[in-house]
């Protein structure tokens, strides 16, 4: 094991030990404000076995995952082609960019009231908000990816008489892919943030719903459990995306 990971493990260990001592031994931290390890364990057991806030943990997780997947996939299936088009054609860029500039600076969470007004408190409003959160970084980075392809590559392909479809599929998309994936990673992160916020406002199930109910019940242990699960899901979906990226870009061995 490397020096780095040893120090890392030691740090996390010391932090956990400090947490245990401050909450359960000395009582310096008020457990009504921040839970002790014991509280978190009990809350985790409760939500997994008995359920909390209308359902057991796996129901909440599946619900949140589904919303993120829908919003994210919807956003990238529109955002990537739009970004490609805008990067490829200066005319399309000139036409679309001003409208996009109107939408872009609006923070995704600011769509929540309008989404609820239009679509109600159901899932479609949340998908809409996640869509906006994921759409903007996807378009920006796809656009930049095409814009930043060095001209000689495209000129060479054209000089060799590459058919248009092949030019797009074999030159344009592969060359823009690293940037596209950067956009997708940002979009995924934004999707999770937005999901939690949208579910905090009102939801039947989901991790945000657990957070919301736990806040009203003044139940810090459950809040921490939900936060940990948000982090686990965010981390694992990001890992999944990185695995796809490594498969899609075998010629790029990027270690981040």
């Amino acid at each position: 094991m490397s020096r780095r990971s040893l120090i890392g493990l030691a740090t996390i260990g010391v932090l956990l030990a400090t947490w245990y001592v401050l909450t359960m031994v000395t009582g310096t931290i008020d457990t009504g404000r921040f839970p002790s390890p014991d509280d978190v364990w009990l809350a985790a057991k409760q939500v997994v076995i008995k359920g909390y806030a209308n359902g057991r943990l796996h129901i909440h997780i599946l619900h949140s995952l589904r919303l993120v997947a829908m919003g994210f996939l919807f956003a990238i299936s529109l955002g990537v082609p739009l970004g490609l088009l805008m990067g490829w054609s200066s005319r399309a860029e000139a036409l679309i960019n001003p409208i996009f500039l109107l939408v872009r600076p609006v923070p995704p969470l600011a769509w929540i009231p309008l989404a609820i007004l239009w679509l109600g408190l159901g899932d479609s409003a949340k998908v809409m908000v996640i869509f906006f959160a994921a759409f903007v970084p996807t378009v920006i980075n796809t656009h930049a990816g095409v814009r930043n392809i060095s001209s000689p590559i495209i000129e060479a392909a054209r000089m060799l008489g590459t058919p248009r479809a092949a030019l797009v599929l074999e030159v344009l998309v592969p060359a823009a892919l690293p940037s596209i994936f950067t956009g997708l990673r940002l979009a995924l992160q934004a999707s999770w943030t937005t999901l939690v916020a949208a579910e905090l406002v009102g939801a039947i199930a989901g991790l945000g719903r657990i957070l919301n109910v736990a806040q009203q019940d003044l139940y810090p242990g459950m809040i921490l459990v939900a936060m940990i699960w948000v982090a686990i899901l965010g981390w694992s979906t990001t890992r999944l995306l990185e695995a796809i990226e490594e498969r899609a870009l075998p010629w790029l061995v990027v270690r981040r």
């Binding site: 890392g8 054609s89 036409l95 001003p98 007004l117 814009r147 999770w192 806040q215 810090p220």
Partner: protein, 142 residues
């Protein structure tokens, strides 16, 4: 309209096309709003929005006028952002200088990074810190 690969176009054409795009967007919006197909309370027309904006500049909504709301938001934004960059730059500089600090702090960050900042809100709300400091706390998170 031919879609030539990244061929630059004249500045005048950029402006013209941009204007067409914006007008089409505003036209569509106004058209839908004016048609009555969607209730006005769901989708106000652009001119209604501008009128409302002008109205809110001097008349209060939810207790304050728009500039007062903006000032209050900007103040919170400034506090959270200022605190975050003050601590963040200092910490980043020190992490770059002392390798042991980097080794110690990075694992903590890796653990915290994936918690969406919004998920801190419930903790902030159950009274971790007083008043505006709660909001500052969550804005400076990761």
């Amino acid at each position: 309209m031919r879609l030539d690969p990244r061929l630059p176009i004249a500045r005048s054409e950029t402006v013209m096309l941009g204007g067409v795009g914006l007008l089409a967007f505003l036209g569509l919006w106004s058209g839908i709003a004016a048609s009555g197909y969607v209730p006005r309370s769901f989708l106000p027309a652009p001119w209604e929005m501008i009128a409302r904006f002008a109205h809110l500049l001097t008349n209060s909504f939810a207790g304050f006028t728009l500039p007062q709301h903006l000032a209050s938001s900007l103040g919170r934004y400034g506090m959270g952002f200022g605190l975050a960059i003050a601590i963040g730059i200092l910490l980043g500089l020190m992490m770059g200088w002392f390798r042991w600090l980097d080794d110690v702090v990075t694992p903590i960050f890796d653990a915290l990074r994936f918690i969406a900042p919004i998920a801190w809100v419930p903790f902030a709300m159950i009274g971790w810190w007083a008043s505006d400091l709660r909001i500052v706390r969550h804005e400076s998170g990761d």
